[in-house]
């Protein structure tokens, strides 16, 4: 990151304009259907000004405040994941000609320069994990194409929800890397830091001034307050061994009695990446599309192998989700799959709290004195 600069609030629109000048389609947070969602946005006035988001297990409500801030809320149900790992995507098509010959054609990877304004630190950490999965050795063409064309403007989170615990996973609340530009919102405007060459070029084009010491201090204090105000946490250690040593823990039965196996936690999780594929045949018999969809380890098909379900019930499905997320990921990606965004807590229809479940299963197992 370069030296911090300051963008006065009344000049926020220039950020959208300069990004647009570079040929990006701007996306940002906005209020829709009672939540903050990310969609096309080119007008700073359409940001969620004066909006807050009260979140609790199984509960999400927007709140209205008499202030001019537009990023004074914790995350809504989705942010970057659907923009990169498409919920539904055609992979290839097959056509049959008059002679009955089949021709297969891969779907062309999409090409569109998109900029997302208002990305949180937790989602940038999740993006790094999605990159590891989709842009690694077996790169996914659609994902890689969308990722390459992405410009990210992060905003430090000054207002974590009751469900947030990014401080304990080490992924927030401040944007530390992964963004081209990082903002800290203050009443009068934004502290601005560039995180890439593209971000530095943007800074050069924006009406920035040097921040005062007081503004720098305020920004640091807001982030520290956001860190201190988080009330939930995951145990700050690798839980893999504790989880896999407790596959018969009674807590799995306890949580299964509250779990709907509906897959909402998976869908809102910014790191979950499972998918399934289906055929979409045309009724005229001349073509079919192969479509990839978001899947979930809570669905039956996910564990269907050779004529039987490996995970026939809710207990084994929840256990799969949690042990993979907090255990197996360490082996696959070198860290836990949880970035502390708390979405799975707020958007669970019955309010299951991953931090409570993990703590209940892992704490008793922790030897004395282990860090």
């Amino acid at each position: 990151m370069t030296a911090t600069r300051f963008l006065p609030r009344e000049r926020l629109q220039t950020l959208f304009e300069r990004i647009g000048d570079l040929g990006y389609r701007c996306m940002g947070p906005q209020v829709r259907d009672g939540a903050i969602v990310y969609d096309d946005l080119s007008d700073a006035a359409a940001l969620p000004v004066g909006i807050g988001a009260h979140q609790a297990p199984g509960r999400y409500r927007l709140e209205h405040y008499a202030h001019a801030r537009c990023f004074a809320w914790a995350n809504g149900p989705q942010a970057l994941k659907p923009l990169l790992f498409a919920p539904e995507e055609t992979l290839w098509r097959v056509t049959r000609d008059a002679a009955g010959r089949l021709a297969f054609a891969a779907a062309a990877p999409p090409s569109q320069r998109r900029a997302v304004i208002g990305v949180r630190a937790c989602d940038l950490a999740a993006l790094a994990l999605q990159d590891a999965h989709f842009a690694g050795d077996h790169a996914d063409p659609g994902y890689v194409s969308r990722r390459r064309d992405l410009l990210l403007v992060g905003v430090d989170c000054g207002h974590p929800a009751d469900t947030c615990f990014c401080a304990s996973t080490g992924d927030g609340p401040a944007v530390s890397n992964g963004a081209d530009l990082a903002l800290t919102e203050l009443d009068a405007g934004f502290l601005v830091r560039a995180g890439s060459a593209a971000g530095r070029a943007l800074c050069d084009a924006l009406p920035l001034r040097a921040p005062s010491d007081a503004e720098l201090h305020l920004g640091a204090a807001e982030i520290e307050h956001a860190r201190q105000s988080q009330r939930r946490s995951l145990p700050a250690r690798n839980l893999r061994d504790a989880l896999f040593a407790n596959l018969d823990h009674p807590q799995w039965d306890d949580v299964a009695a509250r779990c709907l196996a509906c897959g909402n936690c998976v869908a809102v999780c910014p790191t979950c990446f499972c998918s399934t594929e289906r055929e979409q045949p045309a009724i005229d018999g001349r073509e079919a599309a192969r479509v990839r969809l978001w899947d979930s380890c809570f669905s039956a098909e996910h564990s269907y192998v050779h004529g039987r379900l490996l995970r026939p019930d809710t207990r084994t499905r929840y256990r799969q989700w949690l042990t993979h997320k907090l255990g197996g990921w360490h082996d696959q990606y070198g860290r836990s799959g949880c970035v502390g965004c708390g979405r799975c807590i707020a958007w669970c229809p019955t309010g299951i709290d991953i931090t409570r479940e993990a703590t209940a299963i892992c704490t008793a197992d922790q030897p004395e004195g282990e860090a």
Partner: protein, 288 residues
């Protein structure tokens, strides 16, 4: 697909095209209309198979043999009880479509009551009514090869099944819950943001998560999904403030005949105090 698929429909012997019949039992015809509304796709379908019986399209031959028999409606009269056996004997693939054919439909509400008493209280001359004591799913009477739930079925769901069958493959049986489809579409959860008593977490999709997409709670017209945690969801509705009889009513729409929903309806009716007026809250609190 979590059960071994049925053997696909073998190609016709090459000298004739596959034959499609669309039958009707006790129903509103909405599922036939869903197919009739397919527009150009219906013409494409007619080029690939012979439609031998389809009353809403004006093609009538009740006794025609068919390779694929779509059946709309529940078995709720003695005549239908006979007729579904005849349809079975003349059809290679029997495919119930819609909530009535797959679970009994709204008329299966009588399965929770004394149908004879109801008939006596409604009709001045009940002796003219020929009705079975229960309205049943087709599968309660004959073996079926595939079920297409929904009230009504979606046009695409029926076309996908027919296209797959005509291609000689086994149709995909949807098992995902409405929530999965709802999240794939980027819709905001009405249960979490508004405490709406949404049945999406226990209902199989196929509808495209239509109701939550319009800001309404799912009322379960496609019926229970695989592994439906119905008691857990019913308890959640009660925790959100629904009175026991309002909880029961959530499971008494088109799918009251589906076992897990019927069980929840009965369980929560038992918990309601006799003669309770029910929850006096907003329309969303139980009647959504």
């Amino acid at each position: 697909m979590t059960t071994p698929p049925k053997a696909p429909l073998p190609p016709a012997d090459g000298r004739r095209r596959p034959r499609l019949a669309v039958h009707k039992l006790s129903s509103c015809d909405g599922c036939q209309l869903a197919l009739l509304n397919a527009g150009e796709s219906l013409l494409a379908l007619a080029e690939r198979c012979d439609i031998v019986h389809f009353a809403e399209a004006g093609i009538l031959d009740l006794d025609a043999e068919a390779d694929i028999a779509l059946v709309e409606g529940s078995v709720s009269t003695p005549e239908e009880r006979e007729r579904i056996q005849a349809i079975r004997s003349r059809s290679r693939w029997v495919v119930p479509m819609g909530a009535c054919a797959t679970a009994g439909g709204p008329q299966a509400l009588r399965n929770l009551a004394d149908a004879e008493v109801w008939i006596g209280s409604v009709y001045p001359e009940p002796q003219h009514i020929q009705a079975l004591p229960t309205a049943d799913a087709v599968a309660a009477h004959v073996d079926v090869e595939l079920s297409l739930p929904g009230c009504p079925v979606s046009t695409q769901q029926v076309l996908d099944a027919l296209a797959t069958l005509l291609a000689g493959a086994s149709p995909f049986a949807e098992q995902d819950k409405v929530c999965m489809e709802c999240k794939r579409r980027g819709q905001v959860c009405v249960l979490v943001t508004r405490d709406a008593p949404c049945l999406g977490p226990v209902t199989v999709t196929g509808c495209g998560a239509l109701c939550p997409g319009l800001g309404r709670a799912c009322y379960g017209c496609y019926g229970p999904a695989e592994n439906p945690e119905v008691p857990t969801l019913a308890q959640r509705f009660a925790d959100l403030g629904l009175a026991p009889d309002a909880v029961a009513r959530r499971f008494m729409f088109q799918q009251s005949g589906a076992e897990p929903f019927q069980q929840a309806a009965q369980d929560w009716r038992r918990r309601a105090p006799d003669g309770a007026p029910g929850n006096a809250g907003s329309a969303e609190q139980g009647h959504d």
